[in-house]
């Protein structure tokens, strides 16, 4: 059972899909109706078209994966042969779990860790590694929800993201778990205010988004209604349009009033100010992190840059007349800049001015075979 402790982190965390059914008297797997209830706590699984939950696992530790006849409950030893509708909840069958955990937290029959029934979460992904990572990230995202606005500069924010990623990685791969948990706890304590504030902000944003969508929907509906009315009614079209306009104006003014009332509590104005306050308080010490100056590419070539300057006012230049007078910039499409062409011309005007004629002695020809023959032969 090397993987025993792998999923210990799931303790106390539930993804509840089916509602409160722990007390459901029908949730024993020996009774056939359990198979068809999707309201048990384990009921979030894949359903076939008839609405039945097909084979599906909730797990504590990874043990049984293959839906084969060999699957066996390690607790009561019943298997698929004896009970074809057996539902394995990874370490034990559903009935065992029901039996063991109905009276609240109880030790796991295999590893003796104290567990709750709620600790079993439904499986979404076939790969348990993915499942675990998703759960870890869900948990991490809840606590590490700082944003760029909460930091003074990008550098700090990136460091923070790096930390978060490290923690997530450690949790997923079981590296240094106690230390990592300690880190999380420390972070939690230090940033409780910002975390809760960000949660609020997220909620406010979600709410605002929802409202906006609702608004758009209503807007569309009104439009539709108006068109319908114009289609069907016998009344004067102008009157109908005017009426709908009045209604729209009423709606928008009501909306403005309500949003004003809300913004004081939930709106972004409050959040932003509060964050600003927090920010100045928490990161005052780090405020003056100097930006590393940009160092351009350095090489060992001398580009004659001091031998010429491109005249700031440009030149009286016949060749670039057309380009410079091109009002629409069609000729300059693609970023053509006449200054660069001038620069190149000036550079080649001064490049190699001082280079003397090559010196050649016939002795060199011996050491340097002509590649002439090579070309001739190769063809």
């Amino acid at each position: 059972m090397a993987t025993k402790s792998n999923y210990g982190w799931l303790q106390g965390r539930t993804v509840k899909k089916g509602g409160n059914s722990s007390s459901n008297p029908h949730s024993r797997s020996i009774t056939p109706q359990v198979q068809s209830t999707s309201s048990t706590i384990f009921g979030g699984g894949i359903k076939d078209p008839s609405g039945r939950t097909s084979e599906y696992f909730v797990r504590h530790f990874v043990l049984f994966f293959n839906l084969s006849m060999d699957d066996q409950c390690p607790v009561c030893k019943s298997d698929r042969y004896l009970n074809p509708k057996l539902r394995l909840l990874v370490s034990s069958c559903e009935s065992c779990i029901d039996r063991l955990f109905t009276l609240g937290p109880a030790p796991c029959p295999i590893c003796n860790k104290v567990l709750r029934k709620l600790a079993f979460s439904p499986q979404t992904f076939e790969d348990l590694g993915v499942e675990k990572e998703v759960a870890v990230r869900r948990r991490i995202a809840k606590e590490f929800n700082k944003r760029l606005e909460d930091f003074d500069n990008l550098r700090l924010y990136n460091d923070y993201l790096q930390d978060v990623e490290e923690i997530a990685f450690n949790l997923v791969n079981n590296i240094d778990l106690p230390a990592t948990e300690a880190r999380i706890a420390a972070y939690k304590a230090a940033n409780a205010a910002i975390t809760s504030l960000n949660i609020q902000r997220e909620e406010a944003e979600a709410l605002a988004l929802k409202e906006q969508e609702e608004l758009q929907r209503r807007e569309r509906e009104a439009q539709r209604e108006l068109i319908d009315k114009l289609e069907t009614s016998q009344k004067d079209a102008h009157k109908i349009v005017a009426k709908s306009r009045v209604a729209a104006a009423k709606r928008s003014s009501a909306r403005a009033a309500s949003s004003n009332a809300n913004s004081g509590i939930l709106g972004m104005a409050f959040g932003a100010e509060y964050t600003k306050l927090l920010k100045t308080r928490t990161t005052k010490a780090n405020n003056n992190v100097p930006d590393v100056p940009h160092v351009p590419l350095q090489d060992d070539w001398y580009a004659y840059e001091d031998l010429y300057t491109v005249r700031a006012g440009g030149y009286d230049d016949f060749f670039s007349d057309a380009v410079r007078k091109d009002r629409e910039g069609i000729m300059r499409a693609g970023g053509y800049r006449v200054e660069e062409a001038w620069n190149r011309a000036l550079l080649s005007a001064v490049a190699g001015l001082d280079i003397m004629t090559a010196v050649w002695t016939s002795a060199q020809s011996q050491s340097k075979p002509l590649d002439v023959d090579v070309v001739m032969e190769s063809v």
Partner: protein, 366 residues
């Protein structure tokens, strides 16, 4: 072959950018060296072709008068001039013309006109230049404007040309340097503001000199800036001197210790003089009569292996095909040696195909 004053400069000095160019590294020669290359190339080619003649018709080479290195050069020069005409016809920019001319010149430092006639290579060099200088033209448009030319005439030689150029397509041109000097002269303190308009004749005639320089070996021996300056000094010597002196006297910024010394006008005056002489003496289009005479003789002494339809050509082709065939066979054998179905042995039906063959055989027998 770095120049003298570069050797003298301290090691911390940065190297000038021009010395990074392939033009400086691989296409810079002294006049003697050029002459040597051309004569040895000519000798080698004549030797090879003579052997080929003898191989197919013994004694036939004795009264062939092969073209000399100078005559080869004359022919090439003439076709550089032709490139200029073609570019005028196509309205290609100056850069294409200059690049194509450089390609043609460089090509004939590695090849001989007896193998590849410049009238064909010229077309390829020009087409290649349109591409390397980013002035592309479709092959159809290109060949349809040139009489008696089809696409394969241009493309067949393309790789050969590129290979002979060592795939070094970037060329530093004198006409660009001339433009740069012309712009920079406007920066001289005593230049009148309307100088470029009133004195544009200077630029125009300097440009004709640059074009004339294209017919000479100047670009193999001197740098583009020197050629451009010499061209200006042919028209307006004072102006050229003024500009050069201004460059010579540009103070080196105190913060810079890593730059080479300024160009010295006394040091390069000899080069400028030589370029001027070269342009006035040899910057001319060869006489058509002389070219025609060389061309007539070239027809007789072309490498028979490269002339379509001759015995030697056919023999060489047959040999090449034989070699290719051998190579293919070798490849097939090599494959057979480890010839196993990549998908493994067939399952179940072992001899499905042999069975078919047997069946055929039987029916044949009947």
């Amino acid at each position: 072959m770095p120049s003298v004053d570069n050797n003298a400069s301290p090691p911390s000095t940065k190297k000038p950018l021009y010395e990074a160019s392939t033009q400086f590294k691989n296409w810079r020669y002294s006049p003697d060296h050029l002459a040597h290359i051309r004569s040895t190339l000519n000798e080698a080619a004549v030797g090879v072709i003579r052997k080929t003649f003898e191989a197919y018709e013994p004694g036939s080479s004795s009264n062939v008068s092969f073209v000399t290195a100078d005559e080869e050069h004359l022919l090439v020069t003439f076709y550089i001039h032709k490139i200029g005409q073609l570019c005028g016809h196509f309205r290609f920019p100056e850069e294409v013309e200059a690049t194509a001319a450089s390609y043609l010149k460089r090509f004939y430092l590695k090849n001989t006109v007896m193998d590849w006639h410049p009238k064909n290579v010229m077309l390829t060099a020009l087409f290649l230049a349109t591409k390397t200088t980013n002035n592309p033209i479709s092959l159809d448009a290109y060949t349809s404007h040139i009489p008696n030319t089809i696409a394969s005439d241009v493309l067949d030689l393309e790789f050969l040309v590129a290979q002979s150029l060592r795939f070094e397509f970037a060329v530093w041109h004198a006409h660009r340097a001339l433009w740069g000097i012309w712009l920079d002269i406007q920066n001289l303190p005593n230049t009148p503001p309307d100088f470029a308009k009133t004195e544009s004749a200077i630029y125009d005639s300097a440009l004709t000199h640059v074009r004339a320089a294209r017919l000479t070996d100047a670009e193999f021996i001197y740098t583009p800036s020197q050629i451009a300056l010499a061209c200006i000094s042919l028209v307006a010597p004072d102006l050229a001197n003024q500009w050069l002196e201004s460059k010579e006297n540009t103070p080196i910024p105190e913060s810079r210790v890593d730059i080479p010394p300024r160009p010295s006008s006394t040091a390069i005056s000899a080069s400028l003089e030589a370029i001027r002489n070269m342009i006035t003496n040899s910057g001319k289009v060869p006489h058509v009569e002389a070219v025609r005479e060389v061309d007539k003789r070239l027809k007789l002494c072309k490498n028979p292996e490269k002339v379509v339809g001759t015995k030697a050509y056919l023999a060489r082709k047959a040999e090449a095909e034989k070699k290719a065939e051998e190579k293919r066979n070798k490849k097939v054998e090599g494959q057979k040696a480890n010839d196993r179905d990549p998908f493994g042995q067939e399952l179940g039906e072992p001899a499905a195909k042999p069975g078919l063959v047997d069946y055929d055989d039987e029916s044949d027998d009947e």
